[in-house]
């Protein structure tokens, strides 16, 4: 379910809980729940939350403990994954219990014995790996932090005025230093101990996923781990930023943001992707890309950027208005189509339609395709002038002229309104465009932005580090919207070097519970559908450097992803997803063709290469772990897996399912491979 529908539904549900629904809202809620399965599910989940709270708190208050507390509270049942005829699933538990614990209990005691299984790298067999290259994080002893007011409690409760934050800006501004100073002084003022530096193995997997959109191959990971150089992290960041895979990865992320993932026959998705990819590959300024997207004309095939607006011009360009504000400006203004923004007074219905008015000249024309392949859709500008008409809440007809950021544009038909809009959006030294991009890009790397959700940056939603956000945005503009420089600074910054396992600290840093993020550790990020697909490819293929193989599977990837995403066919251009920790995703991982192929042991697969390379059991296990999890096993893991192999081989030989012991070993190693691919560690970026 896309954010707008979800947002509307949540607003309705909140009003329901406080008994504030109007009859119209009540009817709207009714209709959404009847017509939309996702909405129904959210309704039931939300009401269950409300109901449990009402029931339990009320019962506790009135002393009726018996009704509640007599009930046995079973521990949540962990669903067992059972692969027929194997016990590989239990192996997955042996292997990766540490990661599941971490996911369940973000503040888990790192000394807990179970958690230590996967972490204690001192016991790793890969003891020859170089020590972590990053210097330990040192808190700067600077004076200013002592009188800096703590703003960690600034949350949505008390909307801040949109006061300008005064940020001194110097030419010799170094973003890496600025990031370090800002986050470290916050750690100190809040009293949080940052996590230790990430091990090289954890870090190399992270940086590949974030920049190249996939895990490193066993060869790539091994080379990095064995490299003794001190500056190898910075060198790898530069190498990946310059690779075609970086451009492809960012182009994919932005294509998904701009037009969604579900199929739309009007569009040429590949063409938009190719355009964005070119922009990222040549490191063109972000302002230029946005200008092209807003001002494009032509057919889906002729013009890559035209696909953006071709996707959103339905329903009087209401989606175009909302998506433009959300993607480029980080502002959620959908609700102001019909009424004033609930917390954000600057945005009323008038502002929504003034922005909408910029799209008034834009139309989609149908024409026969030149190659005779049916109709094609062309984005055009019609020379019309005058205002946009809309109806306000009182049912009166109102007019809106094109106006953005207090600047009115000549409503004459000779004005190219979209060109004017693009000009206004990128104008000035401190455009919201830059703040929105910095915030979203930061969240790409850390899982959370300074402002969350990343596309809801109104004054009701305070930033965790407002000065830093402002300084990075200023720097981004001063450097002419240099995307790659921004990514480079973030990847080289202190918080990006930290482990995902929290440090030994009383204070938790848990933005998932609504606290402002402190970036005192790397937050876990689930892999996106594209990252997961490409990473399974990398873990499957014997190719030493898999970029090209991944490239050629783009179409298969799109098809695979299509099974998780569906267009909801609503007037708001929403799409729903069954990806992200759901049963369909889990089943696809367990039984899908992709994973079946990966563990088949067929020729040209990484597994067959490992089997051919060495008969040594420990070495095979080490290579399997490296190919799937980009790290070597700990001693405990190695012992556990070897014990599993012995049992499994004996069982298989006794059952007569395999011709000989060698085949039994290979079958059992396939189970190990399968277990690694199905581990929580594999589907999470940490």
């Amino acid at each position: 379910m896309k954010s707008k529908l979800r947002q509307e539904l949540l607003d309705l549900l909140e009003a329901l809980c406080e008994e504030r629904l109007s009859p119209e809202q009540h009817a709207r809620l009714d209709r959404l729940v009847v017509e939309n399965g996702e909405a129904r599910k959210l309704y039931v989940d939300y009401v269950a939350l409300h109901g449990i709270l009402s029931w339990d708190v009320a019962a506790a208050a009135s002393g009726e403990m018996s009704v509640l507390r007599d009930e046995a509270v079973p521990k949540p049942a962990t669903r067992r994954i059972v692969r027929p005829a194997t016990i590989a699933a239990s192996l997955a538990a042996v292997l990766l219990i540490g990661w599941s614990l971490l996911l369940l209990r973000p503040g888990a005691d790192p000394d807990a014995p179970a958690a230590a299984v996967a972490t204690n790298s001192d016991e790793s067999d890969g003891s020859d790996t170089a020590p972590a290259a990053a210097a330990p994080i040192v808190l700067p002893g600077r004076d200013r932090r002592s009188d800096e007011p703590s703003i960690s409690s600034a949350v949505a409760d008390s909307p801040l005025d949109d006061e300008q934050i005064d940020v001194p800006f110097a030419k010799d501004f170094d973003p890496v230093v600025a990031i370090h100073d800002a986050v470290a002084s916050r750690w100190e003022s809040v009293g949080v101990q940052p996590a230790p530096s990430a091990e090289d193995a954890e870090w190399v997997r992270r940086v590949y996923l974030d920049l190249a959109g996939r895990i490193p191959s066993a060869t790539e990971a091994g080379e990095f781990l064995d490299d003794p150089a001190n500056d190898k992290r910075a060198a790898l960041i530069d190498e990946l930023l310059d690779s075609p895979e970086f451009a492809r990865n960012f182009a994919t992320a932005w294509t998904n943001l701009l037009i969604g993932r579900s199929e739309n026959r009007r569009l040429d998705r590949g063409n938009l992707h190719a355009y964005l990819r070119g922009q990222f590959a040549q490191n063109r300024p972000w302002s230029e890309t946005v200008t092209a997207l807003i001002t494009a004309e032509g057919s889906a095939k002729e013009s890559g950027p035209a696909n953006f607006l071709l996707a959103h011009l339905n329903n009087e360009a209401v989606p175009a208005t909302a998506v433009t504000a959300r993607c480029f400006l980080g502002l959620q203004v959908q609700c102001t189509q019909c009424h004033a923004h609930p917390f954000y007074r600057e945005w009323g219905q008038e502002q929504f339609w003034e922005l909408n008015s910029f799209f008034q000249q834009t139309a989609v024309e149908r024409k026969a395709a030149e190659d005779g392949s049916g109709m094609e859709f062309v984005l055009t500008n019609r020379p019309v002038g005058g205002p946009t008409y809309y109806e306000n809440r009182a049912g009166e007809m109102k007019v809106a002229f094109p106006k953005f950021a207090e600047t009115e544009v000549d409503p004459d038909k000779a004005t190219n309104r979209r060109r004017e809009l693009a000009r206004l959006i990128v104008a000035g030294d401190d455009p919201q465009l830059a703040r929105a991009f910095v915030n979203r890009t930061w969240a790409h790397f850390f899982g959370y932005g300074f402002v969350n959700p990343v596309d809801d940056m109104g004054p009701h939603n305070a930033a965790s580090h407002p000065e830093l956000l402002q300084a990075l945005a200023n720097h981004f503009v001063a450097r002419d919207y240099d995307v790659r420089a921004l990514c480079r600074a973030i990847c080289n910054s202190a918080p990006y070097q930290l482990a995902s396992r929290p440090g030994d600290s009383e204070t938790n840093d848990d933005p998932q519970y609504g606290d402002p993020p402190l970036f005192s550790r790397m937050y876990l990020k689930p892999l996106s559908a594209e990252q997961l697909y490409d990473s399974i490819q990398v873990a499957t293929l014997a190719d030493e450097f898999p970029a090209r193989a991944i490239e050629s599977s783009a179409e298969a990837r799109h098809e695979w992803i299509g099974q998780f995403f569906a267009d909801e066919n609503t007037e708001e251009n929403c799409e729903s997803s069954t990806f992200g920790g759901t049963l369909p995703q889990a089943l696809t991982m367990m039984n899908g063709d992709l994973v079946t192929q990966a563990v088949s042991g067929a020729e040209q697969t990484r597994l067959s290469a490992i089997l051919a390379a060495t008969p040594d059991e420990s070495e095979r296990i080490r290579q399997i772990m490296l190919a799937t999890l980009s790290r070597y096993p700990t001693r405990d893991e190695l012992n556990g897996i070897r014990e599993f192999l012995r049992k499994s081989v004996r069982q298989q030989v006794q059952s007569g399912r395999v011709p000989n012991a060698r085949a039994a070993v290979e079958e059992s190693l396939k189970d190990v491979y399968w277990a690694c691919l199905n581990s929580t560690e594999f589907i999470v970026n940490h």
């Binding site: 809980c17 008994e19 009859p23 269950a48 007599d70 509270v73 949540p76 049942a77 609504g514 759901t582």
Partner: protein, 196 residues
Amino acid sequence: MTTELYPRDHDADEGDSPSSTNLLRPPSEEFVQLFTRNQRRLYLLILAQVGGTQDAEDVLQETNLIIWAKYHQFDLGTNFFAWAAQIAKYEVLKFRHRRVRDKLQFSEEFVDAVSREVLERPEELEQRRHALELCLQKLRPDDRTLIHQRYQPGQRGKHVARDLGRPANSVYQSLGRIRRTLLECIQRRLATEAHA
């Protein structure tokens, strides 16, 4: 299907006091336990269909009366919740008839769709409740206090606002934010467990 359907003529003996019909056989220990243990689930099933907590409590009370009046019709060993849910279904229906003029009534399709959705996910509730317990502990103390105040018996957001001397809208906003946080936290935990 061994579940005994709720008989359609139940109105006839609804007014009977438990003593007149149930002297035959006192409710067994097991029945009492089943009854107690299913109260919350029943309440949530009804709440999803009627939307308001006060209404849900009323309907639950009426449902409980019928359950006690009918306990001898329940076969131990069959699905208690399914049996009780049938009773609740008719009580919701009766409640809706009484409120037929109320503008804030959900449609029949709504009630059907929602009750199906709840009944399709029977085992989830305890996990959800357990997750909520953990998620509540993760809230900031202020937020936890606010939720606690809001959910005192008979309280509503507006009362809390009055007691705290805060504008009602700001309290509504806070409560909405906290509930969202809790909802997302629960979803995340359930998703993690499904994967672990």
